[in-house]
């Protein structure tokens, strides 16, 4: 079971709630898994959140991994130049 399961729609409207969830994960300082298999739509706001989250986790030396990231998620991260940082 992943620590965070993303919904199909990950747009800016969901960013506030997602931000809270990611911050909670960050506060735990434990390795985390994100299930991105259902993501059908994602935008810059959400990918930027993940970028911040992944950077913060990396700084603290905690591992974050993806579980079945969807094609949309991977392509979008690539298009925004965040593929490496997000490990997608």
């Amino acid at each position: 079971m992943a620590d965070l399961v993303l919904e199909s729609n990950c747009g800016i409207a969901q960013a506030e709630a997602l931000s809270t969830q990611l911050e909670e994960l960050f506060q735990k300082s434990a390795a985390a898994t994100i299930d991105g298999s259902a993501v059908m739509r994602v935008d810059t706001a959400v990918l930027q959140l993940f970028a911040s989250f992944f950077a913060a986790m990396e700084q603290t030396g905690v591992t974050v991994s993806w579980k079945d990231p969807s094609e949309v998620l991977c392509q979008s991260a690539n298009t925004l130049g965040l593929k490496e940082l997000l490990k997608l």
Binding site: V42, Q48, L49, A55
Partner: protein, 734 residues
């Protein structure tokens, strides 16, 4: 779900027309010697909005054309380029061109303006560093030059993009923009995350990222600009051509969005080939509205989950097609109204509802004791209705500046063509007038201003000889007077040459040799149809050309036009118009059992006892000798073939009215009340009736006809000048 963008087309067209007016007006105010930066900004903003809107709605030809205009403006406001009178002229021509393009789209017609290509090429040539004298170059030459200039030597662009923090909140998603770029060619993206806060400090809706993008694509810069066109003002954006070695260019400074690369390709053949390829690409882009970015947040959400190729709005083309068919069905005219006017209206309706509720309650349990309260309620209802009517009428009122705004350009262009120096002064631009009247007065006004410009104001040389300043002045003045609007066209030109007008009128048989006309009567001759068909402007001042049409058009609006002139000093044309064509201040008159309405504005006086003033004329109209003039008498009963109460003319009452610039006396049985009447068109509801301009419904439910004085004069067969040449004797008979 897709949005039918065609529903917003009309708003776009109207806003574009307004934007073009702003551009034109600001351009005319530009002084190349001392350019006001805010004026340039104003023009730029208007062009930018038109470009953005036309791109969004799929009018790619307009977007593409406006883009080059905007780019040049951007260079001027950035201080890269100076503005000259040549540039101003080019911008003015481009405003005309954009206006025509939008008009064609507005009419649902295919947009085909050959001048657009030529002008666009001229702009592109200027942007490429060429001269600002496009007239000498052919369109083909310009095109090749422009295409060369808009194509990078190495096929691609390097883009630095750092949006402002709020960019995501405004619905502009960089992800979607980059997908657009991906659809143009191969894209390499490097994100700069250095400004990104920690997850605990981040604002989830702010944008902290910046990007460097390298686009390998053989596309003109305009295609790249289009992707960023909605965020160009809210971001740090630099677009530079990729260098020949595949890396980013090191030559020169990166250009900001909209600027054109300045580097020169080394090989002419390559340049030409690339230019043509770029042109093809651009054309494809223009033909394919799908290449336009969708800009609304909603559109972003709808398309974000799709692949780049699918993520483009597919609604533009069907929308354009739908627009054409819808256009054919209904011609919608709209009006922009200040919110204060709408608020007034809502308040009035609120008052009306309260009164209606009060009367309703009164009616439920009505006793005779409640009568005073009922009367009070009816009085209140009457007051509410009057105020509501006034509020509704205010909605249709627009400042006459809407009409006046076309004249600076007209004067600018015509004075140049004719080699005259003319200053145009506008006053009373905020005077309000009904939209319908305003639309119809435009053409007559243009005619009068052209005449003042053409025949009134002298050449600089002639003015200096006459001891006048070499710059002539034309003043357009509008003001309200006695419930009407008065518009004056005043010039300080040569004035009317009365002797020559009279001579010409005699030659044409409009005036007899023995006629003694007053100055006003001589001036009035220029409105006679005979003058416009004669030698035109060769002998007389030329004021007569088409003036009969001007007067006819103004008369059709229930208005009048007259001229005062002093030789050597100038002329004043005065137009009087009703404020609205929907409501009329009327005088009810009775003839037998029929009630007619005379426009109050046309009534000069009424005469009850006129014994000794009547002159019977065999074979013509009877005349009333009114002080120093003879006024033809029109008998309504005889014209409309109805029974009159008056058995003899002396039993009736004469109302002296003015119409078609002459006085007539109308014989009636009685004068009744004066009231405002709502005009109903007879032509729309029945058919055109001579001598009648419309109808209304009176308080008792009967239909009453509104008399058309000019039409009555025509029906009665009264000739204008046969009776005006009073010279002491009784030689008035025709």
């Amino acid at each position: 779900m897709s949005i039918d963008l065609s529903q917003f087309h009309q708003v776009f067209f109207e806003e574009s027309y307004e934007g073009l007016d702003v551009m034109e007006s600001a351009l005319l105010n530009l002084q190349p010697d001392s350019v006001d930066p805010e004026t340039i900004n104003e023009i730029f903003r208007a062009a930018h909005s038109i470009k953005g809107g036309s791109g969004t709605f799929g009018f790619n030809d307009v977007a593409s054309f406006t883009h080059v205009v905007e780019t040049l403006l951007d260079e001027i406001r950035g201080g890269v380029r100076n503005i000259t009178s040549e540039t101003v002229d080019l911008f003015l021509r481009s405003v005309d061109c954009i206006r025509r393009m939008i008009q064609q789209h507005d009419a649902g017609e295919p947009c085909d303006i050959p001048e657009a290509q030529e002008l666009k090429a001229s702009f592109e040539a200027m942007l490429a560093g060429g001269s600002s004298a496009p007239a000498e170059e052919t369109a083909e030459d310009d095109k090749s030059v422009s295409e060369e200039s808009s194509t990078p030597a190495r096929k691609g662009w390097k883009i630095y993009f750092k949006p402002e923090l709020d960019v995501l909140r405004t619905g502009n998603d960089p992800l979607r923009m980059f997908r657009e770029l991906e659809s143009l060619g191969s894209l390499r993206v490097t994100a700069d995350t250095s400004a990104l806060p920690l997850i605990s400090a981040i604002d989830p809706e702010a944008c902290y990222l910046a990007w460097t993008l390298e686009l390998d694509a053989d596309v003109p810069q305009s295609d790249v600009d289009e992707v960023f066109e909605w965020v160009v003002d809210e971001s740090d954006l630099k677009i530079t051509p990729l260098a020949l070695d595949g890396g980013s260019t090191e030559q020169g400074e990166p250009s900001t969005s909209g600027s054109t690369p300045t580097e020169e390709p080394s090989d002419d053949t390559t340049r030409l080939t690339e230019g043509l390829t770029a042109a093809d690409s651009e054309q494809q882009s223009a033909e394919n509205p799908n290449s336009q970015p969708a800009e609304s947040a909603t559109a972003t959400e709808q398309t974000a989950e799709l692949k780049p190729a699918e993520a483009k709005p597919a609604v533009a083309k069907p929308a354009a097609a739908a627009s054409k068919t819808e256009k054919a069905k209904t011609e919608v005219s709209s009006i922009r109204v200040g919110i204060d006017k709408v608020d007034d209206l809502i308040n009035m309706v609120g008052e009306l509802v309260i009164t209606q509720s009060m009367l309703g309650e009164l009616g439920l349990d009505f006793t005779i004791e409640s009568l005073p309260k009922l009367l009070e309620g009816i009085e209140q209802l009457s007051q509410n209705t009057r105020e509501l009517q006034e509020s509704v009428m205010r909605i249709r009122m627009l400042p006459i500046s809407f009409t006046f705004s076309r004249f600076p350009r007209l004067v600018h262009d015509l004075s140049r063509t004719m080699g005259k120096k003319i200053e145009l002064k506008l006053s009373g631009e905020q005077t309000e007038l009904d939209k319908t009247v305003m639309e119809k007065i435009g053409d007559p006004l243009v005619h009068l201003v052209r005449n003042s410009l053409d025949h009134g104001i002298e050449t600089p040389e002639d003015r200096i000889k006459a001891g006048k300043p070499e710059t002539g002045t034309i003043t357009l003045n509008a003001f309200h007077q006695s419930g009407n609007i008065v518009i004056q066209i005043i010039d300080d030109g040569a004035g009317l040459n009365k002797a020559r007008i009279l001579e010409k009128a005699k030659q044409n048989g409009l005036v007899s040799e023995g006629d003694m006309l007053t100055d006003d009567q001589i001036n009035d001759l220029i409105f006679r149809p005979g003058f416009s068909t004669a030698d035109q402007i060769s002998d007389i001042s030329g004021r007569g050309v088409g003036m009969d049409v001007v007067r006819r058009n103004i008369n059709e609006l229930n208005g009048s036009v007259e001229v005062e002139s002093t030789e050597g000093e100038g002329s004043v044309f005065t137009i009087r118009l009703p404020l609205t064509l929907a409501i009329l201040d009327g005088q009810l008159i009775r003839v037998g059992n029929h009630t007619y309405i005379l426009p109050l504005i046309s009534i000069v006086e009424s005469i009850q006892s006129f014994q000794g003033m009547l002159h019977r004329v065999v074979g013509g109209c009877d005349l009333l000798r009114l002080r120093d003039e003879y006024v033809p008498i029109i008998q309504l009963a005889s014209i409309f073939n109805i029974e009159s109460d008056a058995k003899d003319m002396d039993d009736g009452l004469l109302v002296v009215v003015e119409g078609d610039n002459m006085k007539v006396a109308i014989l009636i049985d009685d004068l009744e009340a004066q009231q405002q009447v709502v005009i109903k068109s007879l032509e729309e509801n029945y058919k055109k009736v001579d001598g009648v301009s419309g109808a209304t419904i009176l308080g008792d439910g009967t239909v009453s006809l509104i008399l058309d004085i000019a039409g009555l004069i025509k029906l009665a067969g009264v000739q204008r000048y046969e009776y005006k040449s009073v010279s002491g004797g009784d030689d008035y008979a025709a």
